[in-house]
């Protein structure tokens, strides 16, 4: 279990340092009509969006080997402080049936506004991460990915078994805390996250959608990570994020799905060493 946390932390931390700053594309993704006329209008209206990798960087493969499970890492290029912090990152997959894959909330107590997840990709498409700072400024990091069929991919082989484990969670916190360093955390939710576009094997009918809608993770009573998600998140949603450890306390993850069911997981996090 700790290996997965370490893996995510290594990718988040090492990748943030190693990824070269991408050049802003003068005639690039902002010029896409579907994005500008449809998606952007719904979510941001005419608010200016600065295309830059200086605030966040979106990292994902250029071609998805498995379009139902595409690893995505979003790295924050600035620390979270009371004065200036990323309060929200929204991920869009332009050509997915539901373009908004997730909206992720952060606070100064998050330490870093990095987030990792796995997504479904329906076809070749731009993918955009939009960061909103506490002062309302919007920044975008965009990539393109080649993929096909991620949203209509097969259901779990044993759907009954998957449903019997619905909402079970693993919440793993990284290595022992030290002063002033945010801790990496991995939340894994057992949930088939059915898109509604997947055909039930042998029956030729679509299985009704059933997916994780909200995630809220609190530490010591303060929210450190939140998410509103939809069908573009892969089955068994997994989110990597950070938080600032303090005196120690309970970390509580609360998840609700599209039927309104709520699931909760509580772990005790030791206090930081001084």
């Amino acid at each position: 279990m700790k290996g997965a946390v370490k893996l995510i932390a290594t990718v988040l931390a090492g990748g943030a340092a190693a990824v070269a700053a991408a050049t802003a594309h003068a005639n690039g993704s902002l010029a896409d009509q579907h994005w500008n006329d449809d998606i952007r209008q719904v979510h941001f209206q005419n608010r200016p969006i600065i295309e830059s990798d200086d605030v966040i960087q979106l990292h994902m493969p250029e071609r998805a080997e498995d379009p139902t499970v595409v690893p995505v890492n979003i790295y924050a290029m600035m620390p979270q402080t009371e004065e200036r912090y990323i309060k929200q990152v929204t991920l869009f997959i332009d050509k997915n049936p539901v373009p908004m894959a997730g909206r992720f909330g952060f606070t100064p107590k998050s330490g870093r506004a990095d987030v990792s997840m796995r997504i479904r990709v329906a076809e070749k498409t731009p993918v955009r991460a939009i960061a909103e700072l506490n002062d309302g400024t919007l920044y975008m990091s965009a990539k393109s990915i080649e993929a096909s069929g991620g949203c209509s991919g097969p259901l779990p082989t044993d759907l009954d078994k998957a449903l019997s484990r619905l909402g079970k969670m693993k919440l793993n916190v990284g290595a022992a805390p030290t002063a002033d360093e945010p801790l990496s955390t991995l939340l894994r939710i057992s949930h088939p996250n059915i898109t509604g576009l997947q055909v039930t094997t042998g029956e030729g009918e679509y299985t009704p959608a059933l997916f994780v809608e909200t995630v809220k993770v609190s530490y010591g009573g303060d929210v450190v990570f939140s998410a509103e998600t939809h069908i573009s998140i892969s089955a068994d949603p997994t989110f990597g994020f950070y938080f600032m450890p303090q005196e120690g306390g309970e970390m509580v993850a609360e998840v609700t799905d599209s039927t309104g069911k709520t699931f909760t997981k509580i772990v005790t996090v030791p206090g930081r060493t001084l």
Binding site: M1, A4, K6, L7, A64, E65, D66, V69, P71, R188
Partner: protein, 164 residues
């Protein structure tokens, strides 16, 4: 055939003896190295006390985190147990692939196909779960950079699955 020269003794005899001994030793070492180039030498693995099902989950997670696609698997332990109607230690192989890596390998060396797809073996042994992989051979200078890259991923998958 002319008779072998007689070496009566002294330093020349010791030099000849040492030369023969060293030659034999190097020959044996060389033969051993050739044997070590077999697949067993490329095994990389570790074990954990975590529950078997958890380790399977960790392996699957780590594979997809590196943008590899799980292409198949064989639950060999289960199949053996079912055939003989008797419990058999859980053991399975997971196959996975990244076609972009595969393309690069095969464009240079079509015969490299024999080393595909990548695989990880999981099995119960003496109360622990062992996770092993077979690293790719690094003896072809045309492929060494690629193989080291993929081998790093294979090792990372094993490490992630067995890290306690």
């Amino acid at each position: 055939m002319a008779p072998l020269p007689q070496i009566s003794g002294g330093p020349a005899r010791w030099v000849l003896t040492a030369t023969v001994v060293l030659w034999a030793a190097f020959g044996a070492i060389g033969a051993a190295c050739a044997d070590d180039a077999h697949a067993d030498d490329r095994r990389y693995g570790a074990s954990t006390q975590s529950p078997y099902e958890d380790v399977v989950d960790e392996v699957m997670f780590a594979i997809t985190e590196h943008n590899f696609r799980i292409t198949g698997g064989n639950e060999i332990g289960g199949a053996i147990g079912k055939r003989h109607d008797t419990p058999f230690p859980r053991s399975e192989i997971v196959h996975f692939c990244n076609l972009e890596y595969a393309r690069k390998f095969l464009e240079i060396a079509p015969g490299f196909l024999l080393h595909m797809p990548c695989k990880v073996a999981l099995y119960e042994h003496e109360g622990r779960v062992v996770v092993e992989t077979q690293l790719l051979p690094e003896d072809d200078p045309r492929l060494v950079e690629l193989t080291r890259e993929v081998n790093g991923i294979l090792q990372a998958i094993v490490d992630a699955a067995t890290d306690e």
